[in-house]
């Protein structure tokens, strides 16, 4: 979804919010296919570190990315709350491992602001905007950006240079 469009109209965004460490993130609900509990993974050699492995989702093999590692946060033990959010972008189905999924909420699009310019680093690029709701700050993620292959290859750095 285009950012411009999000901001122009007075529409209401439906978001799935989840937790990584102390921060709250959110995804457009239309991108989310389902949310599953954490399951055993098969690790895949020679992939970037944040690729946790692959799982069997009802007969389909899909990769799972650890969002903590993806955003450079310290790794954490998996808990009872750990979830995998299965997202579907451009025919690409990928699981995103998060600490916990909190809720689904509605947010008027005019309360969303572009990310503050001061925030830099790998993380900022994937931020579509920051939403305010009752004093809480919600980070809206751009899923397509996280999943793009060029991104993956660039970040894969050492491991993937070998492929090229």
């Amino acid at each position: 979804m285009d950012i411009k469009k999000d901001f122009d109209k007075k529409e209401v965004l439906q978001l799935v919010t989840f937790r990584l460490g102390n921060e709250e993130f959110s995804l457009d609900i239309l991108r989310v296919q389902e949310i599953i509990r954490h399951m055993d993974l098969t690790r895949v050699p020679r992939t970037p570190e944040f690729v946790d492995g692959v799982i069997n989702l009802r007969g389909r093999v899909i990769p799972v990315l650890d969002l903590r590692k993806r955003f450079g946060l310290p790794a954490d033990e998996k808990t009872n709350d750990t979830r995998i959010i299965v997202v579907d972008v451009d025919d690409r189905t990928v699981g995103l491992k998060v600490d916990a999924v909190s809720e689904v909420l509605r947010l008027p699009s005019d309360t969303v602001e572009p990310p503050p310019a001061i925030v830099t680093g790998a993380e900022s690029e994937y931020i579509k905007g920051v939403g305010k709701l009752d004093g809480r700050l919600l980070i809206l993620l751009d899923v397509a950006k996280i999943l793009s292959r060029t991104e993956r290859d660039a970040l894969g750095g050492v491991a993937l240079n070998a492929v090229a």
Binding site: V51, D91, L147, R149, V163
Partner: protein, 571 residues
């Protein structure tokens, strides 16, 4: 409306392409039996059908090209002209042009081809001018006949018209429908899912049996599962068969190619094809076309001697090139053999030395059989000059790459003076494969069984190192070894047990060993892609789901070998 039109055009394209493919074959036959009117009529009909459809659809250039060709064929058919090599060349040229036109239509590029030269040469033929225009080649034909007295490809010497071909059962209607390949693939996928569910049920069933052997319900369930097992296996086979195509699809274009090549090189070559009815998976068929083209070019260009050279060596003037295919267990063996001059291993070594591809010590140690494999190195060519057919040293690299990609094994046998035989050993199908499951570093991997030569149990002492690379010495040969557990980062190689296993792999023309912790067994697996995101991960061909619902990664042995070479090169 537009869609309907597209459908009609697509049908036209695929039907015409099919007709044109079979035409090449028929023309070659016709050249051998110039008086065969059944064949002529057959050819005439094909061209006529294409012309009719093209006219209806408004492809003007196509109509023009087919029209003149048809005129010539008509004259031949009515016996007003005799088939000869010059006429054949003109007709074959026009068929090539029609193919180009068809391709333009397919790509909707709206390109116009220059029809004039082809039409002109056909009109010449029509007016009976061909004799004058083609005088020079005609003369050489006659003179070479005088010298040789045995030239099957030339009309004057060709066997007399054989009436036998008249009663060929060509008339029967084919009972088939066209199905989009995507639909077939999805059926195959579903069949694969069913196999997985069956495996799972079977596992659960046997577990239940352990708990309770008395219940009647249980025995009924066992029966049901056994039945399911049977049906799934049959279904799987049936679906696989749907994707199978006779290798004739590839072989058919070679008679024409060999004819043209031989004519260009002033050589006499007879192509003997056997086993063209052997069936292979569509993907495999698509991959072996190019390698075979290169091998046949090499055979005609480098392998075959000129007729005079052959005669002086006491061989028949006409060389034999044989192309054969047959099934051997779960493999298909395809081979190209010629009775030409053979490959001189010593010359290969010398050439490789000159180019700095091997060191003198290497050359010293190298067996002749190993030296032959040097021809697969990109850029390697012993040909003294580059012709437009071959000699650039790219061809054999293509052969190796394509065959490796489909998990095939290549072997070369050659004897100086007696000819060369190159054999491919290919898997029957790629979708459902037999895999050897192994354990390394706590993970389970599958290795396509078609690439496994043997498994060996070794201790740490059996592994030697040369220049810091691990190798294994086995029956007078040294194989490089790659540690599978080392692939996953941060994995301490967990060799607690005394024994390890080496899986010896053959891929393309090379072999190497993979060191694993344990062997698990053999399993029938359905290959799945790991999705767009992880596609192309080095060394991994894909994944599959085993009976427990866990994901197992399938090794891409060709990729693994490549990365191993890179590591060595960096050392």
């Amino acid at each position: 409306m537009n869609n309907e039109m597209d459908d009609i055009v697509n049908d036209f394209i695929s039907e015409s392409a099919e007709a044109l493919d079979s035409l090449d074959q028929k023309f070659i036959e016709l050249e051998k039996n110039p008086g065969d009117t059944t064949l002529l009529n057959d050819i005439f009909r094909s061209i006529h059908t294409i012309k009719g459809a093209a006219g209806f659809l408004g492809f003007q250039q196509m109509v023009e090209a087919t029209h003149v060709t048809e005129d010539v064929l008509n004259k031949l058919r009515k016996g007003e002209m005799e088939v000869n090599a010059a006429i054949m060349d003109a007709i074959l040229q026009s068929v090539d042009l029609i193919k180009v036109l068809l391709n333009n239509i397919r790509e909707k590029n709206g390109r116009e081809e220059d029809l004039k030269p082809v039409i002109a040469s056909l009109t010449n033929v029509l007016n009976g001018d061909y004799a004058r225009k083609e005088e020079a080649p005609q003369l050489t034909v006659i003179s070479s006949e005088k010298r040789s007295g045995n030239d099957a490809a030339r009309p004057a010497q060709a066997p007399q018209p054989q009436p036998q071909s008249k009663d060929e059962p060509h008339k029967e209607k084919e009972q088939s429908i066209r199905v989009d390949i995507d639909r077939l693939d999805s059926v195959l996928n579903l069949a694969g899912e069913l196999v997985l569910s069956r495996n799972r049920l079977m596992r659960l069933g046997s577990k239940l049996c352990e708990l309770d052997t008395e219940s009647e319900l249980l025995s009924h369930m066992e029966e049901g599962i056994a039945q399911l097992d049977l049906v799934t296996t049959d279904l799987q086979l049936a679906v696989m068969k749907m994707r199978m195509q006779p290798i004739a699809k590839v072989f058919n274009k070679f008679p024409r190619m060999v004819r043209d090549l031989a004519r260009q090189n002033d050589k006499e070559v007879e192509l003997v094809i056997s086993g063209e009815e052997t069936e292979l998976d569509k993907t495999v068929i698509e991959e072996i076309g190019d390698p075979l083209v290169h091998l046949i070019r090499n055979a005609v260009d480098h392998g075959m001697e000129t007729p005079d050279e052959r005669a002086s060596k006491g061989k028949p003037r006409c060389g034999t090139l044989s192309l054969s295919a047959y099934q051997e267990g779960r493999h298909i063996i395809v081979s190209v053999a010629d009775d030409g001059r053979g490959i001189d291993a010593a010359a290969i070594k010398r050439s490789a030395l000159e180019k700095g591809l091997i060191t003198p010590e290497d050359a010293e140690k190298m067996l002749n059989k190993e030296a032959l494999n040097l021809i697969f190195i990109p850029g390697f060519s012993t040909a003294r000059k580059v012709s437009n057919i071959s000699g650039r040293g790219v061809g054999m690299d293509v052969v190796k790459t394509n065959i490796s990609r489909i998990n095939g094994i290549i072997s070369i046998d050659s004897e100086v003076g007696n000819g060369t035989k190159i054999t491919f050993r290919l898997p029957l199908t790629l979708a459902i494969i037999q895999a050897l499951t192994v354990e390394a570093g706590g993970e389970i991997y599958g290795i396509p069984l078609s690439t496994v030569i043997e498994n060996i149990r070794v201790t740490a002492n059996d592994l030697k190192t040369i220049d810091g690379k691990e190798v294994i010495h086995l029956r007078d040969r040294v194989y490089p070894v790659v540690r599978l557990s080392g692939l996953v980062d941060g994995n301490v190689s967990s060799t607690n047990s005394e024994w390890n296993y080496i899986v010896l792999i053959g891929i393309g023309e090379k072999s190497f060993g993979i060191l694993v912790d344990r062997l698990h067994g053999q399993e029938e697996i359905v290959m799945k892609s790991m999705g767009e995101y992880l596609k192309g991960t080095e060394g991994m061909a894909g994944a599959c789901i085993n009976g427990d619902g866990n994901v197992i990664l399938i090794l891409d042995v060709a990729g693994l070998l490549e990365s191993m070479h890179r590591v060595y090169a960096n050392c």
